[in-house]
Amino acid sequence: MDSNRYKLLLLGGAVRLYFSNTSLASLIGNRVEFATPLNSFKRLQEGVFLLQQGVDPYGGDLVHESPLLLKALSGILLNYAQWLPILYILFDLCTATLLYLLSHTFVKQKLKQQQGECKDYAKDTEELQYSENDQFKIPELVLLAYLFNPLTILSCVGLTSTVLSNLLLALILYTMVKRQLFICVIVLAFETVRSLYPVVLIAPLLLIFARRSVGLSIAILMVFVTSCFAVAGANFLVMNSWNYLDGTLGFIFYFRDLQPNIGLFWYFFTEMFEHFRTMFLITFQLNATVLYLVPLSIKLRKEPLLLATVLIALMAVFRAYPSLGDVGFYLALLPLWRRCWKFMAHGFVVFTFFLITLSMMGALWHLWIYAGSANANFYFGATLAFSTGQIFLITDLLFAHVKRVFCLYNGQRILIDGEEARILLE
């Protein structure tokens, strides 16, 4: 099994290496679906160049990478620029490995948990329970889904910094599953200061580490807030000015750049009436962060990792500058919920949505920007449909989970008067 994993990793790396040597790399680096103002490699290069020239990169409107990473990457970019694609590929392989390990541990934990609970389970629910075989099957699926998803491959080939975000997110999830509180909090604080939205992952973190203990959760929260400030302070020390806060977090929150991307924000705020802008900005940002946080945390309190998956997925749909790399990441987490798949009704619909909208995006972009025969509405339609497809996927997963848990305890065949009954949410 292990050798198989290495083979897959090698193959994934080889695929990325192959594509990064083709003209695809520069093409993807310019595609708005992959490269947003936040993660584009071109802007990173600009930031490094400005740093080198002694110009404050956050004085302008191009650089939104956090200072610590900018400094770190500038060292690499200036001295070993030709090795950078290799570095990104290694990052991506690390992410895949972390996801593999975390799913392995997760399934083990699940199996253990099932042993304790199995006496309450209904009889005919074997196919809803994690089996011994899942220990190997699910991690492999996760690995496959991350390594060979075209979205993650292209996002790595285009050198978007989503590769780094994914690595950090995978690290957060891994340390969560492995119960390494300290690293988890630090990494989460770093990623929060960098791109704001991961702050919602504090909920699954608290659910895992501070179950039932209010005092402990407050302590963890304090540690988190302190480390956020510490990271911000470290960034300040690097740049010697607070300008970067407005350049990173402020830029995300105020949504200053209306460049098209796959999200919901860009056209909405392009067409927004100016006096409603602030209100809708706050509404949309709430929608992307705290709106679903509390209800889902209560609902999924027994499944923190599912909560994390759903929150990461919602983040990828509703964040201000989403990219397809984010989508690829949460798609790789879906095999963890393999035992829910039976209840996922919209699989085909979602797959079709993804396939059609993703292929339409390229075509409609060309028609709008280059051919001039379509307008922005066409592209907006494609991104809107893509978001709808993702939302279907997420809600489907939630429904499937609820039904699975119900069926696990009540049996898959529920009879009323000898007839098969339906399960509904009312």
Binding site: L50, D61, T270, E271, E274, Y370, T395, I416
Partner: protein
């Protein structure tokens, strides 16, 4: 001055004491006040390709002495005196231009200008800060917006920069302690027309009533291929004595006529043909009133009628220019009204034209790339001189275009090659201020040595941004302008060079003004980029659709989080749509006739739940589920 004193005397008794003091101060003031002069000049230069350049320059020079004298203006317009009192501006240039100056065939203009509106100003005063300069700058632009009826009020911090290397101050101030600030802005979209010419003429002491300004009729001025109005104000103060100051107002009108458009048959022309009428006299307030006609180069083939009263040879930097001079005041010395006209008569039937040599340095600019998302701005600077030239290039990229500094490349090639090689020139100086959307333009200045007889291609990659729908001007698909680049250099020779030396104030000061180097400033073409545009007609639809998608997520997540799981009987609803409808209708019908049966069918009660309200439905269902099948638990996950 004496009139003002009389007024004082009549209105206030206090003025009696003033009167006693006046003889002392008055004599002091008169010493300066008499020193106010107005000069009008017209230069006519035939250009290559049947073009004629006419350049008007009206100079008012006032040795006003101390600041308090600025309240009493005579020849200088009152508004110029007032801005010197109100703002700390020491030097001001405004250009309103339509058309493009073609350096390659026309040589260098006497006064540089770029298409649209352009202004820059120097501020200097002790205790001046950057923010107060920004404020003064905007107010100053607003003042001139009113004076010249131009859209200069659109000048603000989002399109102004502080050039660092390219402009040198031409003013002098008393004391050298105070810091100097410069601001520069262009409005390339500005259209220059009659409404700018009329107020511009009103700044002249004689207005358009008499003198050379009578020639500037909008009907003729705006038919030209290139016309540029300019206003330049500067102050010159004694470095030791702050009460010994001169203010200099120079108004220029630079026109290029295309003779083919004036007269199809031949290339003869006259003042009357160019301006619609002859000259009816000179401005009586003018100290001098002169017309200079270039006689060599392109002017060589023309016979003048009447012959100029005087001929002058001006040698600048090794190149001589022959001017014929008409003194208008002499022409109109005798009594009687008449019109003065000069005619240029070319050789008949000889259409052979001289080849002109290109000036030592010229530039072009264009856009590379296609699509409305990415592009490259390319500026080509050509050095046809036999020595390397230092070049400074300034770019003002508006905020709606993102420029990537790390993509800045300067490629060079020898002049005879067509393709640019990959060899890159190093830049010797670089000043960069990154832009910010809706706040700051990108400001780039780059300096390099351009090798002899070669050209340099300066490229920088840009992204075109999508703006908010209300930020597009009317006719959004017309495109957005990027103002011209400014290129500055030091020429060692005076070929084609006619600009005035900074220490002079009249056109005749440029005669024989040889120097070690000649500061040259060029403007390239302005660019027009088409940004991606949203659909302006459907804001409501977009808002509704986007909110719908948000609601698509909100609804199901809300129900997952709040609702209970229940089981209900698998319905007997047929799959076929038509039968489904029939089934529903019949159910409803039978339900109405016999309400007691209702509880039997789950599906039916669900339909009627709309009438009854949800709680009752839920109760009913829960009751049923529990009573009929006690094993079915409700689960609240």
């Amino acid at each position: 001055m004496s009139i003002y004193c009389c007024c004082f005397l009549m209105t206030t008794p206090l003025a009696l004491t003033l009167l006693l003091l006046t003889p002392l101060t008055q004599s002091h003031q008169f010493q300066y006040q008499t020193d106010e002069q107005f000069h009008e000049e017209l230069v006519v230069r035939p250009l290559a390709g049947d073009h004629v350049n006419t350049y008007f320059q009206f100079t008012t020079r006032w040795h006003y002495g101390s600041q308090s004298n600025l309240y009493h203006t005579q020849l200088t317009p009152r508004v110029i005196a007032e801005i010197l009192q109100t703002y700390d501006v020491k030097e001001l240039h405004i250009g309103l231009t339509q058309g493009l100056w073609r350096y390659e065939s026309w040589g260098y203009p006497i006064v540089e200008a770029t298409g649209g509106a352009e202004l820059w100003a120097w501020f200097s005063s002790p205790n001046l800060t950057n923010s107060s300069v920004n404020k003064q700058w905007m107010r100053l632009a607003n003042v001139f917006s009113g004076i010249l009826c131009a859209s200069l009020n659109f000048v603000d911090n989002t399109n102004s920069i502080a050039p660092k290397h390219i402009f040198r101050p031409q003013f002098m101030e008393s004391g050298n302690q105070s810091q100097q600030f410069v601001r520069y802005a262009t409005l390339p979209r500005e259209i220059v027309c009659t409404e700018n010419l009329t107020p511009w003429k009103k700044l002249l002491p004689c207005g358009s009533a008499s003198g050379l300004a009578t020639l500037l009729n909008s009907g003729y001025v705006h038919n030209t291929k290139y016309h540029s109005l300019g206003v330049k104000v500067r102050t010159l103060c004694d470095s030791d004595d702050s009460n010994n100051c001169i203010v200099e107002l120079t108004q220029t009108a630079n026109l290029v006529y295309d003779l083919k458009l004036l007269e199809q048959s031949n290339t003869d022309f006259s003042l009357r043909r160019l301006f619609g009428m002859g000259l009816n006299g000179y401005c009586e307030l003018a100290t001098s009133s002169k017309i200079y006609v270039q006689r060599n180069e392109q002017g060589e083939r023309f016979q003048l009628s009447p012959q100029p009263q005087q001929e002058l040879i001006s040698t600048v930097g090794g190149y001589s220019v022959l001017y014929g001079v008409y003194d208008i005041q002499q022409q109109f010395e005798g009594p009687g009204a008449r019109l003065f006209n000069i005619a240029w008569v070319g050789p008949k039937g000889n259409s052979k034209r001289e080849q002109t040599s290109a000036p030592p340095l010229y530039a072009h600019r264009y856009l590379l790339g296609n699509g409305q998302k990415h592009g490259r701005i390319a500026t080509e600077v050509i050095n046809s001189h036999y020595e390397p030239l230092p070049v400074v290039l300034m770019e003002l990229v508006p905020w709606y275009v993102h420029a990537y500094l790390h993509t800045l490349r300067i490629c060079s090639k020898p002049q005879h090659l067509h393709e640019y090689t990959t060899s890159e020139l190093k830049f010797n100086l670089l000043h960069y201020a990154p832009g910010k959307q809706r706040e700051l333009p990108t400001h780039l200045e780059v300096g390099f040595m351009l090798p002899a007889r070669s050209s340099a291609l300066i490229t920088i990659e840009v992204d075109y941004l999508l703006l908010k729908w209300l930020e597009y001007p009317p006719d959004a698909n017309h495109g957005h302008y990027i103002g011209s680049a400014v290129i500055s250099s030091q020429l060692p020779i005076g070929r084609n060079y006619t600009a005035m030396p900074p220490e002079g104030h009249l056109f005749k000061d440029s005669f024989n003004a040889s120097r070690a180097t000649y500061t040259l400033t060029l403007r390239t073409e302005a660019l027009i980029v088409s940004l991606p545009t949203p659909d302006f007609s459907m804001p409501y639809n977009v808002i509704c659709l986007a909110c719908t998608v948000v609601a698509l997520a909100f609804g199901p997540i809300h129900s997952v989080a709040t609702k209970l799981i229940i089981v209900e009987r698998q319905t007997t609803i047929p799959r076929n749509l038509l039968r489904k409808i029939v089934h529903k209708l019949s159910n409803r019908f039978s339900r109405r006739s016999a309400p007691a049966v209702a509880a039997a069918d789950q599906q039916q009660s669900k339909q009627d739940g709309k009438d009854k309200g949800i709680p009752s439905l839920l109760e009913q269902q829960l009751d049923q589920a529990e009573s009929k099948k006690p094993r079915d638990k409700q689960a609240n996950m």
